[in-house]
Symmetry: D2
Subunit: 431 residues, 4 copies
């Protein structure tokens, strides 16, 4: 594995608000950052539509990707010389960290669901396909692109390398918690990363945490919990995501129904066909999406036009607590009432459910098993985190779900006050 | 002046990373924030192309406008009850603060120069024209939109109100210095705003600073100085602005020359004609611009295509120190050499000069006179800041200019090594 | 209740690293801060011996007392105008907040246990006795000192006032968590106090929290949990407290045994007699204690001299996990072995146990019932915090205890290597 | 120079609020920190009496010394491998950094002036004398203590090593500016130290700064300027220092006049004789001084008693602007009037002058020449900082002096209102 790892004449630095500086001294890393595929991440927001809720959350995935790279760089520097660490994996770790989100498209969450895509497939395609990224990775070695793809795809032989990039306490999570907290301005999301990095140890095929750092890890897990509920699952953000999904559904529906768009939606066609080529995929960033939505505001289809207007001008749906499992009758009735009122319930009424599992350990046989975080005790024994930490034990394995019903409140208000339908709808919604 | 100032049922807050919270309790302010014209500011970056230099600088003018509003809100709250303050100006101040940047277009700096526009005209047009903003302001009083426009246009009768929004130590500057420092992550841009707000006093037609706060003001002026040279005039940012201007020039040139664009540039047409209507102006935000640039990357005109590729993928011009006043001969020669080498110097060679005057006091008869900052001594006397502060005195009135020559270094490198032209160009550029 | 509340000509401010500024505009508050009794708090550290563990923790109770005052000032300002708030309680709240720790002596924790004292008694005595503090409080009204004492002593009629100063989410806790985090430099202890202050509401006889602020409260409770285990109960700090207690015990033992001190311990005599007068109490601050300890380093009694040397020069005891409930036999054996080795176990061997109950709600009939934190739901209902928060529910009512055995490891090492006693001691200690 | 540099089994860390963590892996450093001479620095405040002005400023020289050590550790780590750097100087640099303030006594500024001492002599004596520090340094090599003393005394052959510890941009200044800003809570004192450390380069016998880091250095110099005038020379702090000096003068005067102290001032005797031995010197820390001042509050000499009461209870002198060079007549008259009023002007009237030279470059022949800061241009040339920076040029070599007159305002107020003396004194003081 004699890789060619050319060094820059002089270390380059990026000023980063979260990690202060991002340091690059490998020419491969520098060149990867300069590729069109990586620069494209500047045009995709890290938190999708969250900026509607937290106006500071306008940062891009470019930002985050540099951050994950920097954390891995520091971890790998700490690992140098450890018996269980092979420093030849260094450049592989750095590359995988930098590129792990490369396949994200615009507003991934909604796009993936509506168009049945998986950004991980595109990450792999960009790394292995006919791209600037691939050509640069090839310079290191013929098998290097495949290795990078394997690490990101979690199939690489050295599980230790994988766990740095994706585990319950990986560089990805550590960066986004801090970064999203910084840009939104919330007071959650802070934990002592410097300490966590200092207590991480490579051990066989995993990264373990020295027991003396347990409280820093607890703090990290609590931060994660708070960020999920305070930021990522904020109901206002989910409202804008509901509208976004509805726009995509409507546009696809119109396209399949031979609707004549004023401007032919070239960029979207292969998405509507649920089979975008890599080239098409890379062309569709968030500025292109926003361009279309602004055009579609003036489309003649009233639903597409209305929904785009809502999204562009932040005229969102209202919401109430609503559990579809217990309130199925009400759901059916609302659906019927909306239809009767001339408000298409397929576009103006939606239940959204968000769930989070703050920490879990291995349970054989379940889907998506999660590897536990192991503490290394002073005597060298390993103990699973929730066995040692009461706080973590308390929330371990507890899935929490939040259900909300979203609806176009302004349309309801717009109904005649005499209308029985309006009265009944309000009765249900306002309980 | 019996304004209708309806209050919200419950104060609304925005989480803001710089001021922690932005507080809104006037319904007018809340409704202004919800207008399409104000929401559009989310699609215009506060620092234009600076994100190419500082990846964190992706924040929008929406962000900044809320910040200026919040600072004014705090100042006006402090002023309540002062003899020289009329609290009926409160809502006017808040509205003008919120809306002061409303007319900014995409990448304003370059667009204004190339298309001969002035964002202040558009701010005025939005406030006074047929817009949602105007309709909301009208609710306060028939003359209210005009008053807001007058404050922003600096023609309002009460100069005290104007000075809160635009002076050498106004809410605008205080917000952007802190905000831009926060998002770029630089360590400049910090000063004790809380202290400055505490020592501001309304006095006749100006805001004065209690002498005990002089050092906080010194710190603010030094922050401003550092931010200009470290962030706003960063040579890499200016490189991207040079390219941006060249794109706009080239596209206009092609348009005027009856070039057939693959995609008709509808959004740009009235800009190329240097007379965009308000409606056209509002439609052109930065996602639309980026959409066109990505389309233009594939245009058949090689210059437009190349320049757009450079901008989209951050493939910028290199630069050297170059003073056109002293090096005019070299400039002429380079121009000629570029032409001979087949590299159009109108698009690939440019001198850019940036100047800053960190602080100045009134000098009768000069263009753009600047009002001085006055300190109020313990005995009530007013003294101009630079008379009291050695630091400010040292930099007062000293204009500093930086000249740089930008050029497409890769094109020069691409010339044959035998070429005499190449040798001579490199001789001049590398001194 | 027509109190005399004279205002200062001009508001005074203290620069505070935690709350940025502490604001004073009541002359009574200003004068209280200037009393010898309050200034004395500068000579008593907020965290006792914690500076041995965290070198930044050198801040005094003076610091913290100003901070608690400032938090209450902000809360009371927010409460003004609420139906359930009587603004005539304002000055009482401020005074009680400022003075609540006034009776703390040097290294209170250890002193109180060894000499059987209660700092709350002294707080009361200072407020009601012949002191500068009392004379200033009297200026407000004859019954004012008594009211202040009642609030601090939790016997005041208006329970709402008491709950601001002492409850599970009071100004005292909010200040010390943030302040102690700031000075130690740990990354725990941060929570969004600004938000908590905004969601606090006076309701009948308690302070409730608007439900929308629940997560900020969760964060506060988790901070509290982390600070207890990471800072307050740090085993190194407890080691120095063990030594401190041993010094006091030894000195008292010598005094009672008619030992002739080289320097008569005037300041300690009434403490040894377990009945210090108020005057004696106020004279013994931490500089006086440290003076004596330095003198006692040179006393001829070897135990007193050795212990003082350990404390002054941070030559602490080592520790191991040790549960006296389960390891009583080992404890007995160690005691015996130490005695045989000529190392007095009464001074050189000690079990220390620390317990914390992070949050609890009311359980009738138990000692020291704790009032719950109530959330106010949107419909006005009150719900106890742990019913709404899974995180809090998880840790609610769970008392955690940590036991450690402290011993003079250097003395054991100093024993002859052949010694059977040494071997057996090490066997037990090193398990 | 084959030094014995034993490493610790495991790196030790101190949590530091300014540098986050202080790292120790050399056994010598660890052992030095544990010596009584170094632990004594915990009992000497970094900013002397500044805590009277900024209540947060209670941090000790122990704190600061660890900080300087940590900065040097980072610099030396960066230097490793540079052609002009000899890594064998590493341990010497670390030791000198840690110990550079070792000879400071209590409230050094005042003690040194009154008793005619120089803390640098004591630093040298501790390092070279019969101390724990000396014995540990000896373990490295017989000549090592002398080398450490030479570096601190600025006589060491390798000037590069000296300049790390004492120059216009050394580790000492970088630590105290940040640390004092942190503990006082002022917003000055911040600069981008991480950047400065990255642009420092060893070059022959000095440390130079890469030109690209010029603005970070400007920021550092401005921070220094602001800290001097906002914190270090704050008039309230100087008021307490005036009183402190007066106490020491009075006590010495009484001692020399055969006054019988209630408690024999053992710790002070050799200071009064202006010749304390090293042993005496080390015994007198700030807790001992505070102990005496509290005892002296009750001395029968009214001046000593009054002054100690003022110091202990922060009952300070008032001050006005007063230039003794221009107001000599008034000074003479005040002196006379105070005497006539029975207020001893030797103890209750004082002019204090503070001066600062923010930055200077070498001027041959002047006292206390200062080495300039050199920038290293891209082409390798060196330029003196003020030639490149307008800001620094503006303040370079400009000495600023502030004069204040301090007096016991309460004594003046206490004079009979009819008194002509009182009227005349107030006339002069209140201008």
């Amino acid at each position: 594995m004699a890789y060619r790892d050319e060094q820059l004449n002089e270390e380059k630095v990026f000023k980063d608000p979260v990690h202060r500086y991002v340091h690059v001294r490998d020419k491969v890393i520098w060149d990867l950052i300069g590729t069109p595929e990586f620069q494209r991440l500047r045009r995709i927001k890290q938190l999708g539509t969250s900026f509607f809720t937290f106006h500071g959350a306008e940062h891009s995935r470019f930002n985050h990707s540099l951050g994950v790279y920097e954390i891995i760089r520091r971890i790998v520097e700490n690992f140098r010389g450890h018996a269980d660490w092979n420093d030849e994996e260094r450049l592989l770790c750095l590359s995988a960290a930098l590129l792990h989100d490369l396949g994200h498209g615009p507003f991934s969450h909604s796009f993936e669901k509506v168009f049945n895509l998986d950004h991980e497939d595109y990450t792999r395609d960009i790394i292995l396909g006919d791209t600037a990224v691939n050509r640069i990775l090839q310079r290191v070695g013929d098998d290097f692109p495949q290795k990078v793809a394997d690490v990101i795809g979690k199939t690489y032989a050295n599980k230790l390398v994988i766990s740095l990039i994706s585990s319950q306490i990986d560089a990805d999570r550590m960066d986004y918690l801090q970064r999203d907290a910084y840009f939104t301005g919330v007071s959650y999301g802070h934990f002592d990363m410097e300490r966590i990095l200092r207590v991480m140890r490579p051990l066989d095929d995993q990264v373990v945490i020295k027991a003396s750092g347990m409280h820093a890890v607890e703090d990290y897990i609590m931060s994660r919990y708070q960020m999920y509920w305070q930021v990522y699952f904020h109901p206002v953000t989910r409202s804008s995501e509901v509208i976004l999904s509805k726009i995509l559904h409507r546009a696809m529906h119109l396209y399949k129904g031979d609707y004549q768009f004023t401007l032919e939606p070239h960029h979207f066609v292969s998405f509507f066909d649920e089979n975008p080529s890599l080239e098409d995929y890379l062309k569709l960033d968030e500025s292109v999406v926003m361009y279309y939505f602004q055009i579609w505001k003036d489309e003649k289809d009233p639903i597409l036009s209305d929904l785009c207007n809502r999204f562009v001008n932040r005229h969102l749906f209202k919401y109430i607590e609503f559990n579809p499992n217990h309130q199925f009758g009400q759901w059916m009735e609302l659906h019927k009432l909306f239809t009767e009122a001339g408000i298409d319930p397929d576009y103006y009424l939606e239940v959204d459910s968000s769930s989070d599992l703050p920490y879990d350990f291995y349970r054989p046989g379940e889907d998506e098993e999660r590897l536990p975080i192991h503490l290394m005790m002073q005597n060298g024994d390993l103990k699973e985190l929730s066995r040692q930490s009461e706080i973590v034990e308390a929330i371990s394995g507890k899935k929490r779900t939040d259900h909300k019903l979203y609806y176009a409140a302004d349309f309801i208000e717009g109904l005649s006050d005499d209308s029985e339908i309006k009265k009944r709808i309000l009765e249900i919604l306002e309980g």
